[in-house]
């Protein structure tokens, strides 16, 4: 009889989920009200934009690339939307334009990376500077979004109230929908599988006849779209645009992807894991805010250590599975 064996590839993601629940339990034991469902719901509300951005980052990292322009695109999108609404444009047009710019920008980055074999780190770094500067050109001040029909509609009609003080906001629903689509895309479509193949071994993927160039450009385009969508969510979340926001968010996104069990060299991991990566980051922050005594810079240190722990674990797993495949 064959003994049930827990597949090695599920270890990182299970570890992430385990960490999430352990942190959650610590919180519940140590603080009043931490167990309230509102904490759980707030986690989604406050991290929906990050979660959507992380989906794009995760896909890019699966191809073995990297995207540093995430935070800047969010800031640019939010300020662009706010500015257009302020100058009397319909919010839907503003959102559509912002998404199109995000898509085109991602496509441009992917094109530069693929066609001229420039390093992704560099191209997206330049992209990050560029689009952040563009945000400041749109407006140097933060702009509130007030009395807009579309935004009010989203606020009033698209929020599900679950109980007193418990609102399931539109942005949370949107995040979950995007997440499900991304999971299906990465696991069940040809393009999604190609992403894994490229991340695992680009040369082999090319030899197998996978359209490497097209897939890579597509991935960066999706990442651009996700970032822009995150910007839209951010604008809905804050009802404002601010070119200064989300500085350094790309590093949080990468940390979330790593904690979510994706290997930074590409090819290994699940988009689903990014959900828990984001939640763990958010939960640690919540824990430190609830405590209110320890220096909040500890958040950064703990996140750093957590990233380290996950890297070690993955390293170990890679080594074990390699030695296994050799022994077979």
């Amino acid at each position: 009889m064959k003994k049930f064996k827990f597949p090695m590839r599920y270890v990182p993601i299970s570890a992430t989920i385990l960490v999430f629940f352990v942190v959650y339990l610590i919180g519940i034991i140590s603080f009043d009200n931490f167990g309230s469902p509102k904490v759980f719901l707030d986690l989604f509300i406050d991290n929906a934009y990050l979660g959507i951005a992380v989906i794009g980052t995760a896909l890019v990292i699966l191809t073995g690339g990297i995207d540093l322009s995430v935070g800047s695109i969010i800031a640019f999108t939010s300020i662009l939307i706010a500015k257009m609404i302020e100058s009397g444009c319909n919010a839907l047009w503003a959102i559509a334009l912002a998404l199109v710019i995000g898509i085109l920008f991602g496509m441009l980055q992917g094109w530069l990376i693929h066609c001229f074999s420039l390093p992704p780190f560099l191209v997206t770094l330049a992209g990050m500077f560029f689009i952040r500067g563009c945000g400041f050109i749109v407006s140097e001040k933060s702009i509130p979004i007030k009395n807009d029909r579309v935004f009010d509609f989203i606020q009033n009609n698209l929020t599900v109230t679950l109980g007193k003080g418990l609102h399931l906001r539109f942005i949370v629903i949107l995040y979950i929908v995007v997440l499900v689509i991304a999971i299906v895309f990465s696991q069940r479509t040809r393009a999604g599988r190609s992403i894994y193949a490229i991340g695992d071994n680009e040369l082999a993927a090319t030899l197998m006849g996978i359209p490497v160039g097209r897939t890579k450009i597509l991935t960066y385009t999706i990442a651009g779209f996700c970032s822009a969508l995150a910007g839209v969510v951010y604008a809905i979340y804050l009802k404002a645009g601010n070119p200064l926001n989300c500085v350094g968010l790309e590093m949080d996104a990468i940390a979330a992807v790593v904690i979510g069990g994706t290997l930074l060299t590409g090819g290994v991991g699940y988009v689903f894991g990014s959900l828990f990566g984001v939640l763990v980051l958010g939960l640690i922050q919540t824990l430190i805010i609830f405590d209110g005594r320890i220096n909040s810079w500890w958040t950064r240190i703990i996140v750093g250590l957590l990233v380290l722990a996950f890297i070690f674990m993955q390293n170990l797993i890679t080594k074990i599975s390699k030695s296994k495949s050799k022994s077979h």
Binding site: Y10, S14, I17, F21, Y24, L25, I28, F31, D32, N33, F34, G35, S36, P37, K38, V39, F40, D42, I45, D46, F136, S139, E140, K141, S142, I143, P144, K146, N147, Q155, G165, Y237, L238, K239, A240, G241, N242, P243, L244, N245, C246, V247, G282, Q285, T286, I288, I289, F290, D291, G292, R293, N295, S296, W297
Partner: protein
């Protein structure tokens, strides 16, 4: 994969069930405070004032959070304060916009909000009970008036602006320009952002001093003391005498700036008082007791220059 999902769902349900079975000490007023960050001496002083005052008062239980200059962190902090069930929320907003939703949530939960240091831009004014703090526009005006009174009708001003897009930078500039508007002799001939930091203040001042207009500059208006202190170094390196060749005015009033004024290297600093811990908790106690408080409480502030700064003042300065 299916099995996996079920396990997660079950675990999630289990944790949610554990929820809501703890109690808290209700005799204390629980205050949640979200600070902008620790970006300057001034900010640090205000943090210490608040923490120190909270420790002195036995009836206050403070939950303090540092937003590391990120609005996203601040909103998370306020949301968590609501969930935690504090009695009063207080915060010093990173920017003016974007707090409407979370403040509505606080209102819905019946938690009064007291703002400190900066205002927020909201459509319903009852979203916060009171604002304690400084009026940035007024600070800019005071700096402008000081120039008018002490430099006269002819001044070529170089301006070190704060972080582009931030509330103090916008308002202080506005206030200053408002005053000098009617005086054609006073001109801002150079204006550039120094990001509120010493390093950038110095770097930008260096470039001012090498510009063709360098010799005309006789007044420097910096939006905070840190930039001014950086600029003083740049001016000294250029072989000019800060405080004499170039009159230096800034805003905040930190100890090192007082020292610089005492040493004759700077001329004036418009105080923006960070030590409002006592004022803040007085207001919070009143609100908690159900009394009404004014919606704007200016903090006690002055203008300091060579006339009223002595060694004693410098030594007595807390920050």
């Amino acid at each position: 994969m299916n099995k996996f999902a079920t396990v997660i769902m079950a675990a999630a349900a289990a944790t949610l069930l554990v929820a809501g079975c703890s109690k808290s000490d209700s005799s204390k007023i629980k205050v949640g405070f979200s600070q902008v960050g620790a970006e300057s001496d001034w900010r640090k002083a205000s943090t210490e004032s608040i923490k120190g005052e909270a420790a002195k008062r036995p009836n206050i239980e403070l939950t303090f959070s540092d937003a590391q200059q990120k609005q996203e962190n601040q909103i998370k902090a306020i949301r968590n304060f609501i969930t935690k069930g504090v009695d009063v929320i207080s915060f010093s907003p990173v920017v003016a916009t974007g707090f409407e939703d979370v403040l509505k949530e606080a209102k819905e939960a019946g938690i009064p909000v007291v703002l400190f240091d900066r205002a927020v831009d909201v459509s319903e004014p009852d979203l916060y009970k009171s604002l304690i703090g400084s009026d940035f526009v007024e600070e800019g005006r005071r700096a402008g008036r000081w120039v008018l009174d002490n430099v006269g009708e002819n001044a070529n001003v170089a301006e070190l602006v704060g972080t582009v897009g931030s509330a103090p930078a916008i308002d202080r500039k506005k206030g200053f320009e408002e005053i000098i508007k009617d005086h054609p002799g006073i001109k801002i001939i150079k204006s550039q952002s120094g990001d509120f930091t010493r390093a950038k203040g110095k770097e930008v001042m260096e470039s001012f001093l090498k510009s063709p207009e360098a010799d005309q500059i006789n007044v420097l208006f910096a939006h905070n003391d840190d930039m001014a202190l950086g600029a003083i170094q740049a001016i000294e390196e250029a072989g000019k005498k800060p405080g004499k060749d170039i009159i230096i005015i800034s805003i905040d009033g930190v100890k090192s700036m007082f020292q610089a004024i005492l040493d004759g290297k700077a001329n004036c600093t418009v105080e923006c008082n960070p030590l409002i811990g006592a004022q803040l908790f007085d207001v919070i106690e009143k609100i908690h007791a159900g009394e009404t408080v004014p919606s704007y409480i200016p903090s006690q502030e002055g203008v300091y220059d060579t006339k009223n700064i002595t060694k004693e003042v410098v030594d007595g300065r807390m920050y």
